[in-house]
Amino acid sequence: MIAAVGLLAGLLLGLVLQPSVPLALQPYLPIAVVAALDATFGALRAYLDGIFDDKVFVISFVSNVVIAALIVYLGDQLGVGNQLSTGVVVVLGIRIFSNVAAIRRHVLHA
């Protein structure tokens, strides 16, 4: 519940403040968001499984975001940025999908 309120607060904060993303980070923001979503859905599933842990969530979130952005950055430097970001999105997408499916099972069968 508190997490949902926090999410809403973050969304509103972003909409109200309209933070300007530094130009150098702009290409990596979308992929970082996808990575963050993956970490969050994983955390939600863990919460429903009863094994949620605050520290693990923070670490996985931060490392997911940083690693995704780094991979895309590396791809950009090597000239395969588009392909690598596609790969990252596919992997993270599959993970999000299976997490959401597990959450759905939890919610509907619980």
């Binding site: 508190i2 997490a3 926090g6 999410l7 809403l8 607060a9 973050g10 969304l11 509103l12 904060l13 972003g14 909409l15 309209q18 933070p19 993303v21 702009q26 923001l29 979308p30 970082a32 968001v33 963050a36 979503l37 970490a39 969050t40 994983g42 955390a43 599933r45 863990a46 919460y47 499984d49 009863g50 094994i51 949620f52 842990d53 605050d54 520290k55 693990v56 969530f57 923070v58 670490i59 996985s60 979130f61 931060v62 992997v91 599959i94 993970r95 999000i96 999908f97 299976s98 997490n99 597990a102």
Partner: protein
């Protein structure tokens, strides 16, 4: 790896299944293993731990807030870039329209200018034709008035007193005889005449002054050389048909006056002296009237 051919003792699965392996492994590890590992450790260390969801929120909430921020920021960024493209597009479309109208304007201007050019060319050619005919007229007038020197084919006539002119009556060439000869040549369509190098203009007179014959008020001495520019094919024949030709034939045969006519391919005649070109007449006094 376990898939190395050396230690693969199980029957190998069909090759296409391997990619499904990857996918299923992906979805199996969708949740960080750390959750389970930590939970297991907690279970073993503190069996009396509180249930899930009872824990107080800590860093996780901040992370969720950050997630919301990132979501809205990237959504705004994705939306913000779209209107920019649309603006660019519409600006380009505007530019295209503008260029199109300017092109059509230029085309119509071009059309108008081309019409104008065609009209002016027509004007110029008609003016050129008019100018050409005017030049012809001027040239003909110049020849006929004798205002400038002329060159061309024609005949040269040498006239002289008879050998016995001093003793025999009528053996000398008179001014009247020359007048007749010149008029006959004009009648035979001569274009320009001169006597002893004196060009005959409209106001030139051939008359006697004392014992000498004058042309343009210049006294001449025999023999008189008359140069006539005209059509050399017809000039001589036509002259002989005129009354002047007949009378000169009689002069030649009756009085022995010398008359020689010869064809000359290239005669060159001077202009009439400048004083003979101006026509003077009395002017009415306007005040007196």
């Amino acid at each position: 790896m376990s898939n190395a051919p050396g230690d693969d003792r199980r029957p190998a699965p069909a090759q296409p299944l391997r990619s499904w392996d990857l996918l299923s492994r992906l979805s199996d590890s969708a949740v960080d293993d750390d959750y389970a590992r930590l939970a297991a450790r907690r279970e073993s260390m503190r069996p009396q731990a509180q249930g899930p969801g009872r824990r107080r929120p800590g860093w996780g909430v901040g992370v969720v807030v950050v997630l919301g921020l990132m979501l809205s920021a990237s959504a705004l960024q994705a939306q913000g870039s779209e209107p920019a493209e649309a603006r660019e597009r519409s600006a380009l479309v505007d530019q295209i329209e503008e260029r199109r109208t300017s092109i059509s304007r230029s085309t119509s201007t071009l059309q108008g200018l081309q019409d104008e050019i065609a009209a002016l060319q027509g004007d110029a050619s008609s003016a050129g034709a008019r100018g050409e005919s005017l030049l012809d007229t001027v040239e003909r007038s110049r020849i006929l008035t004798g205002s400038g020197p002329v060159e061309g084919p024609g005949v040269r006539i040498v006239v002289d007193d008879a050998d016995d002119a001093a003793t025999v009556e009528g053996g000398t060439v008179l001014d009247r005889d020359l007048q007749v000869l010149v008029n006959g040549l004009w009648q035979a369509e001569a274009e320009a005449l001169s006597i002893n190098g004196q060009r005959l203009g409209p106001t030139s007179a051939i008359r006697v002054a004392g014992r000498a014959i004058t042309v343009n008020y210049r006294p001449l001495t025999p023999p008189y050389v008359i140069s006539a520019i005209g059509d050399p094919d017809t000039l001589e024949a036509r002259f002989s048909e005129t009354a002047a030709g007949q009378s000169w034939f009689q002069l030649e045969s009756n009085y022995g006056i010398r008359f020689d006519m010869e064809y000359v391919a290239d005669l060159s005649l001077p202009g009439v002296p400048a004083g003979r070109l101006r026509l003077r007449n009395a002017l009415q006094d306007r005040v007196a009237r």
